[in-house]
Each structure stands twice: as structure tokens, then as C-alpha cells.
Symmetry: C2
Subunit: 169 residues, 2 copies
DNA sequence: GTCAGTGCAAATAATTTGCAGTCTT
DNA sequence: AAGACTGCAAATTATTTGCACTGAC
């Protein structure tokens, strides 16, 4: 973990990217969280280390790091961006209910190959296998009576989302 | 295509779901568009047929159809929801730049299996292979000088998004 | 006739941005 | 010192919702 952050600093220096406390903190927050945090989760995690950091800067920094290739943006069924510090090829487990994610090793799907001939007119760059389902917590959670867990966004109020998506620390 | 709509009507009747012009139109719009339209694209496509339909109803209807299992919601790198009328297992091609999507047959990745033992504490339900890259149009598009195509949302202004994401009819 | 379904406009929620001040190189 | 980075608050954009009305069964 610390190694990643060192490599991060190196990489930035090498590219002439300024190394600020905020950038380092954001990068570390993503590295530390295997659940692939949202911008808001990153913000919350970064605050204790920096005293203060605006959410806007978190967004700007995440965006910046994605653009420079130091982070990846991953999409979830909730249509809320999450971020991944592992930029080498790998796959994902994703909870369709809360958006929680976890990495799967590339080796878990080593046999998967691009289907030749199916990709006419498309420039394929990467292949991502996602296993979709329910995470532990959501599988246990009461099915909410008659309601099915499909109305996604509105149930993830700012307050609640603080807990679910990033269980581990 | 027409067959799908018939099956749609049947299925609704059987379940006691009211069949309205709007629902039929929304369903057909999704069926007809292999690029997996966004809510707004659906809205635009539905207008000529109905004379008028509010965007709010489009959202409500899409949400409803997803909840009843008649449509699937698919996530994109842009964090904007897109919809898919093919509810049987299959895979996707997705453009990382404009969000355009296309189906890949299940057969294209038939060898893919869930990695046993890797899924402890996770209730896997489905497996989705996504080939990420650049669609024809985005691959041709000028790289915008020094800018990389990563600042996603802001470049997809309402006006522009009308064109790109749903090329085919 | 009844109640689900719809339109409209206002409310939310995630994300972006203008501007002025601060800090890295 | 120069220009990149940040904070704050306001702006955007996608999506949802309250309420009154209409239409499907």
C-alpha cells in the first residue's frame, strides 16, 4: 500500500505532475479501499488526514488522475462513478443493490478472448468481466416487504451511502 | 421487432400490468435501438409516435419496466443509465468515449465460467463480459488537440448527446 | 367508476466550474 | 515569481417526485 503511494509520487515527478497533499491523499484513499470508493467516500476518507479538503477538489483530482491514467473509473448499476487504483487488467465483482465492488484476478478468467470477427468497426481496448449479484450485506438485508431493490438512486441518500458502499477500511 | 412488442403486450396482460400507449412506445424504442438508448434518447424517439410524452414519464416507465424485469438497466463509463430489451444472458461492446453500446452474443464467450472459490460471501447472479474501447465515430473523431477524451459528462451537452449515442435506427 | 398512469413543475443529487487566493516547482 | 492547485459557492445535468387530472380495465 505504501509502495503504491511511493510509485505514485515517483510517477508524478517523472511526468512533471505536481505532488500535492490532496492528490496523494486521494490516491491513497482509492488504493486503500478494495470496494472501489465513490467520490464522496474518498472525500470522507481523506478528511481526517488533511484536516479539510473540498469535495470539488476531490472530484477534480479524481478526474485528473483518471485522465492521466493513474486511476480507472468504473461504472456501477447505480450510475455513480467509482474509482479503481489497479490499472492493470483484471475483473470485478459488483453488487447490483449497493454498488459495492471487489477485484477479481485476471487469472480467474484467463481463457476469455476477444471474439474475432465480431468487432467490425470497433476499436477494442480492454475486456472486463463483471460478475453481478448481491454482496453479503445486501443479500442479508430484508427484501423491504413488497418493494424490489430496483429504485436505486433515491434510496442512497447522502447519509445512508456513507455506510453501505465501503464496508471495509 | 414487432414480435417483441406483441410479447410485451401479452406479458403485461398476463401479469395484470396496464398496457398504455406510453409503455408500449417506450418498450419499442428500447427494442429498436441496438445502441441501448438513454432515457433522453428514448424520449426523443417516442415523441413522433405519441405526439407528446413527458420526460418524467419516460423515466418512470423505464424504471417500472426494469423493476418488472421487462428491461435491463446497463451501466456505462459515463454514469448515465442506458437500457436493454434483451433480458437473456449476453455481453456488451461499450464505447468508453460516448457510451454507445452493442450486444455481443452469449456464444461469443461461451467458455467463461464463474471462478469457484473466489466468490465467498457474494451471491453471484449473472456474468457480463464487456469489451471496452472506441466506437467507429469516436475512433475517427479528432483527439481534440491536447485533451484526452476523459472529461466525459460535460462534453455530452443535451444538444450533442442527441446525435452520438444512438447512431443506428 | 376506480385506481393506476401521466403531465407539469419543483425538488434532489451527483458532478462541474468561475473566480480569487495559496502553494509547488 | 509563475502558473498550477485549491476552496467556496453557484451552476449544470440527470433523475425523481407531489399533485391534480385522464384514461385503461
Amino acid at each position: 500500500v505504501a509502495a503504491w503511494c511511493d510509485r505514485f509520487t515517483e510517477e508524478c515527478r517523472r511526468r512533471g505532475i505536481r505532488v500535492t497533499a490532496q492528490r496523494t491523499a486521494v490516491f491513497r484513499a482509492v488504493v486503500q479501499d478494495p470496494a472501489h470508493p465513490t467520490a464522496e467516500t474518498v472525500h470522507r476518507r481523506v478528511l481526517p488526514h488533511l484536516g479539510s479538503m473540498s469535495l470539488a477538489t476531490v472530484y477534480r483530482t479524481l478526474e485528473f488522475l483518471v485522465r492521466t491514467g493513474l486511476l480507472h473509473r468504473v461504472s456501477t448499476p447505480q450510475a455513480i462513478s467509482r474509482f479503481d487504483a489497479k490499472v492493470s487488467p483484471h475483473h470485478h465483482l459488483v453488487c447490483r443493490s449497493c454498488g459495492w465492488m471487489r477485484d477479481l484476478e485476471k487469472a480467474d478468467f484467463d481463457g476469455v478472448r476477444l471474439p474475432r470477427g465480431r468487432l467490425a468497426g470497433f476499436r477494442a481496448e480492454s475486456l472486463d468481466v463483471r460478475v453481478v449479484g448481491l454482496c453479503d450485506a445486501c443479500a442479508q438485508a430484508p427484501p423491504a416487504a413488497g418493494k424490489r431493490p430496483s429504485v436505486i438512486r433515491k434510496h442512497l441518500s447522502r447519509a445512508r451511502r456513507k455506510d453501505a458502499p465501503s464496508k471495509e477500511d
